[in-house]
Subunit: 240 residues, 2 copies
């Protein structure tokens, strides 16, 4: 396994199979191999195969999922590729800096994901809320409609480039919490908030999104998730 094998490319709800093939080729030229497809419209498909050229092996090993959550299992860090500005926004990195953030974990053999949305409408807010950061690929403000496989190509290129540079920053060495653990924390917290009448499930507003955003910036560690859940359990028990 190489470093770049820890980077998962996740395409959500792709309409045009040609883009899936072109994505596989874009990945392979830069040394990426791990492709997840969430509800692709047409796959497997002849046009995908044609555009994949000599990257057929990536298509053959691609993992098709019925839900986004399935495709993100075990990843410790997820970046959303999006061109649109977001109201409740995450930290935004450009392609180069974003690639470095991903490599930070991949170099430590922790799985990470790069999430790409639909060709026409991009990622939904709910999809973005599962991610820790947003990556925006620079483009001409007058024409920002980058083709899906082109966006993958640029990110794959920056990941490859980033490998050959020294990373200029260090972080603590603790184990990052993974997707499943973090989602379980959110579920736990949400239940308690509803039980204690802080959150009205009929009028949830943006509360859970705000909380996701806060904790995504923190990049929770395993042990921290345990502590937070311990606190929640203690508070809940005490209230009975």
């Amino acid at each position: 396994m190489t470093i770049l094998d820890f980077v998962r490319i996740v395409l959500s709800h792709t309409s045009h199979p040609g883009n899936i093939g072109a994505t596989a080729r874009a990945m392979k030229t830069m040394g990426l191999h791990t492709l997840y497809l969430v509800n692709p419209k047409h796959f497997p498909n002849e046009e995908a195969n044609a555009r994949a050229s000599n990257a057929m092996d990536i298509l053959q090993h691609a993992i098709t999922c019925e839900s986004l959550d399935q495709s993100l299992i075990d990843t410790v860090f997820i970046a959303a590729i999006t061109a649109r500005p977001r109201g409740l926004s995450h930290d935004v990195f450009d392609a180069r800096q974003g690639a470095k953030e991903l490599l930070y974990y991949a170099l430590r053999q922790q799985p990470v994901a790069l999430l790409f949305g639909r060709e026409n409408s991009g990622l939904t807010s709910e999809e973005v809320s599962k991610c820790q950061i947003i990556i925006r690929i620079p483009s001409d403000p007058d024409c920002s409609s980058l083709n899906l496989a082109s966006a993958v190509q640029i990110m794959a290129y920056e990941l490859r480039m980033g490998l050959s540079e020294n990373s200029a920053f260090t972080r603590t060495n603790n184990s990052p919490a993974n997707f499943n653990e973090i989602e379980a924390l959110y579920t736990h917290l949400e239940e308690l908030m509803i039980d204690s009448d802080f959150l009205d499930p009929q009028k949830p507003k943006l509360l859970m999104q705000r909380i996701r955003r806060l904790f995504s910036r923190a990049r929770l560690e395993k042990e921290e998730v345990q502590i937070l859940r311990g606190i929640l359990s203690a508070l809940a028990k005490h209230s009975n």
Copy 2:
């Protein structure tokens, strides 16, 4: 005219018209507009139009030439994009450094050209001999067959990046919580943790430090502190 309008993309003997359209789109998203085609096999062409998406104007203004020399007229600096090692070698730059070399002239309003060869065989030695430098786009040694439009995409991206080297990373613009607000949050949380027997004040261990560390990474905003304290109050009230 913008700086990037001084950068000419020259495609020599392109076989697949889809690649010409995808090239136009790749250029336009990054703010390039000047396309020269040397003896394209099929052009104008429906597939080219389809792949161009909203970059039809670039195809319409593309200049078709019968010889390479014609396409390079008036340029002061030409870079050959090639993956193969060359016997009689030029200076070789990677995509990022090569883009900077091109921008050096473009910033002084001098026309420059980026020359791309045939899909299967690349540039001939004679074509390369018309250029000042070779640019090699990094790729996996096991699979270096980058798609033509993908190669254009990466170079166009690096040209755009080279124009704006600053601003790699922006944070959201919300008001950060101040020291007093954050300390009040910690006090509030600590009290509840003690009340619910999660934290033994006789044996506090490193718990509060862990929590401080977590939230300091998040760089809390004012509103987020309010939300967190609201949750704590609700949980505490519920327990009475």
